[in-house]
């Protein structure tokens, strides 16, 4: 632990070691749906420096509504990066030691090619002409980015939620390029309940008259009401009953009694409305449709003859699987299925269920046990990799 960490003052990442860039690719990206996406762009950030052996790269895979601004202020909201407590000098993912890469997924709306970008065939935004993408497509695009950056393989690929699915896909699709894989609060497939919640969100967007069949870009409108409802419904699934009760209970919002109307009388209503209204400022509704679809289609066992263990047969990757007790979106049993499959091929795996009432989003909320476990796993893996500082 370095001096500033001991003093409890995280150092900012030196601006000289932060790259905010876009990579343009002419070679088509072969998508699982059979379409070739070309040309395409990947927006990414990197922190720290690649060492001489090119052996210290960590790829962070973001969740559904996150983006590449993992440890830098968000350009639209101005808020700190989504994992600023975990990524930085002297932190769990130490940017003094590792070359950290985070890219916006294909289909996203923060600079990587997605439905709001121009379709070269029509000269207009893709809208629903954008091909349906998968978790596998996201990972292949990231692999292309690594080639572009001259990174032969990853010391670690890590992610929570949808990021965890990309991590598992990485380990299955490119086992030789992944030394360690850390899958947090994830699953090897989307459950019926997961798909059901996503369908509610998509229907909310599509029911908004401003959605216009996905072609709203040309009309200068956006389906913000529908997207906000989608976000509100999804946000409930990221929390837990206990956390909602602890934070809000039945407390009223800036009033002493109910109004006998449909204002946000309760704090929890006000909170959700705020979540919805701020989300629409930074997220494209069509991207939400496409990325939730990619999640729904994810089923790693089905991709490997119906047997999840087949996805990892012969793997030499060191795995770390972490779940949270109160996560009902991707509950512990889903992580345990992954662990069982890894044990079935005698893979090197660690698995920890972290006790917390913060629900699915616990991975973003700096749970101390989670951070300590993760830091220990990464340090142990670095020793096996022969990384020294």
């Amino acid at each position: 632990m370095n001096e500033s960490a001991l003093l409890g003052k995280p150092r900012a990442i030196s601006p000289a070691h932060v790259v905010d860039a876009r990579a343009a690719f002419d070679k088509p990206l072969m998508l699982d749906c059979g379409v070739e996406l070309s040309p395409y762009t990947i927006a990414y950030q990197t922190y720290g420096r690649l060492n001489a052996d090119r052996s210290n790269a960590i790829l962070i895979c973001h969740a559904l509504t996150m983006d590449q601004y993992v440890a830098s202020p968000h350009p639209i909201t101005g808020k700190p990066g989504w994992w600023v407590d975990g990524v930085g000098p002297g932190l769990t993912i130490d940017t003094d030691r590792y070359f950290v890469i985070c890219s916006n997924v294909v289909g996203g709306c923060m600079g990587t090619t997605g439905p709001m970008d121009i379709n070269p065939k029509t000269g207009k935004p893709y809208g629903l002409d954008f091909p349906v993408i998968t978790i596998g497509d996201m990972v292949r695009a990231q692999a292309a980015l690594l080639d572009y950056l001259g990174v032969p393989d990853l010391f670690c690929v890590i992610g929570g939620s949808m990021g965890a699915m990309q991590v598992l896909e990485w380990a299955a699709a490119f086992p030789k390029r992944v030394f360690t894989a850390v899958a947090i609060a994830g699953a090897a497939r989307h459950s019926a309940q997961n798909i059901a919640f996503h369908e509610v969100g998509r229907q909310a967007i599509m029911a908004d008259p401003n959605w216009m069949g996905g072609a709203y870009y040309a009309h200068g409108t956006r389906p913000t009401a529908g997207l906000a409802v989608a976000r509100m419904a999804a946000h409930i699934t990221y929390l837990s009953e206990a956390a909602l009760h602890r934070k809000f209970g039945r407390n009223l919002q800036d009033r002493s009694r109910v109004t006998f109307g449909f204002d946000a009388d309760f704090q929890v209503e006000s909170y959700l409305r705020h979540q919805g209204s701020t989300f629409v400022d930074r997220f494209d509704a069509n991207s939400y449709l496409y990325i939730t679809r990619a999640l729904d289609y994810f089923d790693l066992a089905a991709e490997h003859g119906g047997v999840l263990a087949n996805a990892f047969r012969g793997t030499t990757t060191r795995f770390c699987v972490i779940s949270f007790t109160s996560d009902w979106l991707y509950p512990t049993r889903e992580s345990r299925e992954v662990v069982r499959a890894l044990n079935g091929v005698a893979a090197n795996v660690s698995f920890v269920e972290v006790e917390t009432d913060k629900g699915h989003d616990a991975f973003l909320l700096g749970e101390p046990h989670f951070e300590a476990t993760l830091a220990g796993f990464i340090a142990g893996a670095a020793a096996h990799r022969g990384l020294a500082w």
């Binding site: 770390c320 090197n348 476990t373 220990g376 142990g380």
Partner: protein
């Protein structure tokens, strides 16, 4: 954890493990044995531990440990995946000792099992004269606190191995202070040893 001496039975187990082998430690606690084996014998170690605290302590040290249960989670592992499967002081605490024992020798070429000896004279003394369940240095908890639900003697354990056709390759039986090792042929071992470590092979 660091610097504190390894528990006696773990020391005996560690001595029986050949270097550069693959070891699965079931009920690995805070990972003390796995850490010791990694440092001294270059062993590729894995662990299973029931308590979240133990798992966190192990993984935080860089050990590969999963949260799991010996009674239910061993079936996942492929046959012959490890050179040694270790079960230290845990056998009397599992629900199905016989099934677990067979699983150890399916997953591992060898099993290393340590058991506290319920046949020790102090235990017999307590039960015979006091009429109370024994509380001794090795059975340190009262009957209502202890996790031991299947107490057994060295003779019981050896009888089970014979029944299951498991080969006892080596046995080290000791007093709790580590002194007074007993020879395999010693007939008094079941009376005077407080615990024993067995290296088992498939029969």
């Amino acid at each position: 954890m660091n610097g504190s001496p390894l528990r006696l039975d773990l020391q005996l187990i560690a001595e029986m493990v050949e270097p550069k082998t693959r070891v699965l430690d079931i009920g690995c606690g805070d990972g003390a044995l796995l850490k010791h084996l990694a440092l001294t014998k270059d062993v590729d170690g894995r662990g299973i531990e029931l308590s979240p605290e133990g798992v966190a302590a192990s993984v935080t040290q860089g050990l590969s440990v999963i949260q799991g249960d010996a009674d239910t989670d061993l079936t996942d592992y492929p046959t012959g995946a490890f050179d040694y499967v270790v079960l230290s002081q845990t056998l009397p605490a599992v629900r199905r000792p016989k099934a677990v024992l067979l699983e150890l020798l399916r997953i591992g070429k060898h099993a290393l099992v340590s058991i506290p000896n319920f046949g020790h004279w102090r235990v017999r003394w307590s039960l015979m004269l006091g009429g109370r369940m024994p509380v001794t240095p090795i059975f340190a908890e009262t009957w209502h606190e202890t996790a031991i639900i299947h107490p057994c003697t060295i003779a019981d354990f050896e009888a089970l191995c014979r029944e299951l056709d498991l080969a006892i390759v080596r046995r080290v039986a000791v007093r709790q202070d580590g002194n007074g090792s007993f020879e395999t042929a010693d007939t008094l071992v079941n009376l005077f040893a407080e615990q024993a470590v067995f290296l088992l092979g498939r029969g």
